[in-house]
């Protein structure tokens, strides 16, 4: 890779370069001296070619710094927003302040966000450079996946659905635009991905029956360039045949709450869409409910759909298909192909041809899965109607949280394995809304126990688990993953350890006790010629390195 070119492009002293922070040519050859997107590059692989830290020296890996962050207006160096200092009561019910963001690292500065908050941190010392606080008007404060960077400008989304642009040098607000209406129970968590001059903006929220969408906005002005709705808008439109009527498709959900991936040669942006609404009953929305629970390829310039593949037709269990669509270049059945893999919340691994959406592999990831009658000719799981919620309850695995969830997996092109955290458990789904037109979730779920979490290394060519490691502590499941050319896999266990595995054998080579569970996807980069690993756990960022 051309480090000099990348550095020139990201240099913060250069005023608002129109060029990309991430050169599209770096797809599959991720930056080594920066971590400039949520995934490190556009591929979603979270694989680094760095090997300064490797199997032979990882035992000497040691703490460089820890920084604990305090959200809120106290100590903030800049404040924006239209609401109040306090998060509304109940807004924090999903666990309080946890760093779920993948920090970006550009020119020696780390940038990350949490609901209502964004920070810049000196990557050499962990010292806070600035802290921006957004006064919220509400919304579910469940998490924030991070910021996007373009020239001197940062972008992050807020729980009350604003896209805020900050000056990366100062943390001062440049502008904000409204993405969606918080009164409709939208809330926004996505880390914006920037492709060319498109800032990709998604949203979330399925407490009420509102439609999902993805937008491309102008990085300078915030003006919408295109907007793609995740369901058709009117009868007769493509996909409308999979809904009973216009009302159901316009209230059909399908949120876009995880960043997509991008292939610069095909100029296609890949996004996984969320569950349909009402969430846990299919009554009133008979049909496949396109394009919910789907992997969709959109033309980056127009927002027009190039192809789609629905991984959960007519989902009734809240299994968003928003997990990372990982781009894989390799061979399949003897010939080279451009592929896309997803370890999906519904319990299946999928492999597609990303040029046209052709189905290649579907394979179950967990043994307890009991909701599907098998696969159809296109490799899609066929839901068993008997496992849709009933008044007296049905026992379903996986539960709504899924076999895996948003924490990012990693694909190592050298092993050909996709690494993902899974869990095996059951819930009972009770139908509560027996109206012909149920609303919201329509059903209640009660956890019924489970078997804990497992790290899986999945062969993309077959979907088979090549090695796995079950956490003996119980608990756990999805956790952020990172692989490196040092033949290491970094992730967290359910009891506050950061763990390094041998990517080939699954043997644990190193661990460190933190003060909270790993809560984001770890990142790595070279700084001053030295490799660092940075991970978020609870309210803190931890930096590790091997001293030369």
């Amino acid at each position: 890779m051309n480090a000099a070119r990348l550095l020139a492009a990201v240099a913060l002293c250069v005023p608002a370069l129109p060029g990309q922070i991430l050169d599209p040519a770096l797809l599959g050859k991720p930056a080594t001296d920066a971590w400039p997107t949520y995934y490190g590059d556009y591929s979603g692989r979270r694989f680094s070619t760095l090997k300064q830290i490797n199997q032979s020296n990882v035992k000497a890996m040691t703490l460089a710094w820890i920084t604990r962050f305090t959200p809120g207006p106290m100590g903030a160096t800049a404040i924006g927003g239209l609401g109040t200092d306090a998060i509304p009561a109940g807004g924090n019910e999903f666990g309080g302040f946890i760093i779920k963001a993948t920090p970006l690292m550009v020119n020696g500065v780390l940038y990350f966000a949490a609901p209502d908050n964004a920070w810049a941190v000196d990557a050499r010392t962990g010292r806070e450079l600035w802290h921006y606080f957004w006064k919220t008007t509400g919304g579910i404060h469940i998490g924030n996946r991070g910021v996007g960077i373009y020239g001197n400008w940062l972008y992050f989304e807020t729980p009350d659905n604003y896209l805020v642009s900050l000056d990366a040098r100062t943390g001062k607000e440049r502008w904000h635009i409204q993405i969606a209406d918080v009164k409709q129970e939208y809330f926004s968590t996505v880390a914006p991905i920037i492709v060319g001059n498109h800032v990709m903006v998604g949203t979330g929220g399925d407490s009420l029956d509102v439609p999902g969408f993805l937008e491309a906005v102008d990085p300078e002005t915030g003006a919408i360039q295109w907007k793609w709705w995740t369901a058709p808008l009117k009868k007769g439109d493509p996909g409308s045949e999979t809904w009973p009527d216009e009302n159901s498709m316009r209230h059909g959900g399908g949120m876009t709450w995880i960043p997509g991936t991008y292939d610069p040669d095909l100029r296609l942006y890949y996004i996984g869409t969320g569950n349909p609404n009402p969430v846990e009953t299919g009554r009133g929305r008979e049909g496949d409910n396109l394009w919910t629970c789907s992997i969709v390829a959109l033309n980056i310039d127009t927002g027009k759909i190039a192809w789609y593949y629905q991984v959960s037709p007519h989902d009734t269990h809240d299994w968003d298909a928003t997990e990372t669509p990982v781009l894989i270049d390799g061979t399949f059945q003897g010939r080279p192909r451009k592929m896309l893999a997803q370890a999906s919340r519904n319990g299946y691994f999928f492999l597609l041809d990303r040029t046209n959406g052709e189905h290649l592999v579907t394979a179950p990831m967990i043994e307890t899965m009991n909701w599907s009658k098998g696969l159809n000719a296109k490799g899609q799981p066929v839901p068993n109607p008997a496992k849709e919620s009933t008044v007296d309850g049905v026992l379903v695995s996986p539960p709504s949280g899924g076999a895996t969830n948003w924490p990012p997996p990693s694909f190592d092109p050298e092993t050909g394995l996709l690494y993902v955290g899974t869990s095996e458990s059951y819930s009972v789904f009770y139908l509560t809304d027996t109206d012909p037109h149920p609303e919201g979730y329509g059903a209640a779920e009660r956890g019924a126990g489970g078997f804990g979490g497992t790290v899986r290394a999945i062969d993309y060519k077959t979907g088979k688990t090549v090695w796995s490691h079950h956490w003996p502590s119980g608990g756990g499941g999805a956790a952020g993953m990172l692989t490196t050319a040092g033949k290491l896999l970094f992730t967290g266990d359910p009891v506050q350890h950061l763990v390094a595995f041998d990517v080939t054998s699954g043997k644990i080579l190193w661990h460190a006790g933190l003060t909270a569970n790993v809560s984001n996807g770890p990142v790595t980069y070279l700084l001053d010629g030295q490799q660092y690993l940075v991970v978020g756990a609870g309210d803190s960022l931890y930096a590790f390195t091997v001293e030369p």
Binding site: A89, G90, G91, E93, G138, G139, P159, W175, H176, I177, Q178, D181, V182, K183, Q184, E185, S207, L208, D209, V210, G222, I224, N247, R250, H251, T368, A386, T390, V391, G393, L395, S425, Y426, V428, Y430, L431, T432, D433, T434, H437, E439, G440, Y441, A443, R446, G447, A448, G449, G450, W471, P472, S473, G474, G475, D493, P494, V495, H497, V499, I508
Partner: protein
């Protein structure tokens, strides 16, 4: 600052002309109490929702059914030509009638909705009824479960004593005596599916109650420690022995040898085996054990 309107439907412009914001209403003259103004957040939703008293909601429901129900449905979910109001943006965005009021008073002739001459108080009651409908859909943690006892108690008894092998450890005249009177059916069902919490988090000895998980740790020299499991992960195992002494050991792969015994293992095993009918029947049987 830049702003943009958001909405899947053609932008609905609510004309506020001549509207009196209902939020500004004074206490009415009929002596009835002001609607409750406490709010409730969380429960799976992001917004704060007003908590209304039952009398307000009853009045609102009666008025809605009589005045609006023909077009919008008695439950406001849509009817003869009128849209589903619980999903309507002006209702979702409304605060204390500021958007609903003008629509009711002025009608929407372009859409065939006539104007209604309702008092402020009546509109306020209707608004409360609609907002409660939205809250009830949005706050999923508050959904009331219905009667889940549909199973066949005799079949449940047969399962208890037969296929399920429940009677291996339990007795309906012993430890389970009166169990059907102790718990509501949903809780009871959850108890037999997984007696230990939800079983979702890491092992927590505090959750094991009277059925502690035990562990046997055998050191390389042959020395054996046994007791209640306190913690186990890839790197450590800890126990409390019969004398109440706490011991912890680092784990390096298979050393020391560790064997965990979970008295609830049969419950975990059954999770993979239950049919939904087994679950319903067993629930119906246990409910009879008053």
């Amino acid at each position: 600052m830049l702003k943009k309107a958001v909405g899947p439907l053609p932008a609905i412009v609510v004309v506020l002309a001549a509207a009196v914001p209902l939020a500004a209403q004074a206490p009415d003259g009929r002596g009835r109490a002001e609607p409750a103004r406490s709010t409730r957040g969380g429960a799976g939703a992001g917004n704060q929702y007003t908590v209304y008293d039952d009398a307000t909601l009853q009045r609102g429901k009666a008025l809605f059914t009589a005045q609006c129900g023909f077009c919008h449905g008695a439950n406001a979910k849509g009817g003869e030509g009128g849209p589903d109001l619980l999903r309507a943006v002006p209702v979702l965005d409304d605060e204390n009638g500021n958007l609903i009021g003008p629509i009711v008073l002025n009608g929407r002739p372009e859409r065939g909705m006539p104007k209604f001459s309702l008092t402020r108080e009546q509109i306020s009651d209707i608004t409360a009824f609609l907002h409660e409908g939205i809250r009830a859909a949005a706050q999923r943690a508050t959904y009331p479960l219905r009667d889940i006892v549909t199973g066949n108690a005799a079949a449940g008894r047969a399962y208890f004593n037969g296929t399920g092998k429940c009677s291996t450890c339990h007795s309906v005249t012993g430890d389970l005596r009166g169990i059907g009177g102790k718990y509501d059916p949903v809780t009871l069902q959850g108890k037999f599916l997984m007696p230990r919490g939800g079983g979702r988090g890491p092992f927590n000895p505090a959750e094991t109650g009277g059925n502690p998980v035990t562990v046997t740790v055998t050191l390389p020299g042959g020395k054996v420690f046994e007791g209640k499991l306190q913690r186990i992960d890839d790197f450590d195992v800890a126990l409390t022995d019969a004398a109440g002494e706490y011991h912890s050991f680092p784990r390096k792969g298979d050393v020391p040898a560790v064997v965990v015994h979970d008295p609830l293992q049969a419950h975990f095993d059954l999770l993979r085996k239950y049919s939904d009918a087994d679950m319903h029947n067993l629930t119906a049987y246990l409910v009879t054990l008053k």
